[in-house]
Symmetry: C2
């Protein structure tokens, strides 16, 4: 399945959340990661995140798609994630 993860967490936990996210997904932009995941990897990702976030303060949203067949991407401005891939 294809997963877009966006997070809005306290600044003290941003680095930890990003580090966990990057283990499973590709960074595309500040607080946004995306990529193809198996169901079990998705469960692992969520379980690792639960250990680092504060559920009363932080928020993580996953948009989960069976495939990218029904989705298109549109960009305005810089494509930061792609730049990172090139550098």
């Amino acid at each position: 399945m294809y997963v877009i993860m966006v997070y809005d967490v306290n600044v003290s936990r941003v680095t930890k959340v990003l580090k966990v996210g990057r283990k499973y997904l590709n960074w595309v932009q500040n607080s946004v990661l995306e990529g193809e995941l198996t169901k079990s990897k998705m469960e692992k990702l969520k379980s690792e995140l639960r250990r680092v976030i504060n559920v009363k303060e932080d928020s993580v949203i996953f948009y989960v798609l069976r495939s990218t067949k029904y989705m298109t991407w549109e960009y305005l401005g810089k494509e930061k994630g792609r730049e990172e891939l090139i550098i």
Copy 2:
């Protein structure tokens, strides 16, 4: 169509970008908005954003789905956008 908009812009332009985004979409989390849009509204949104962002520095990504039929949402922690709807 259903649109998820995520932005990563210079702090000096955050308020402007958010203001434009809110005209068309619902705020769900810091730097993330989503909602149903017609094609023409989507064009208007992009054209308004082009006027406020700096394309050399800022980045806006739109995930565009024909419908939400093939997507599910999963949340960890607070659902900030819903809270805002209630308050």
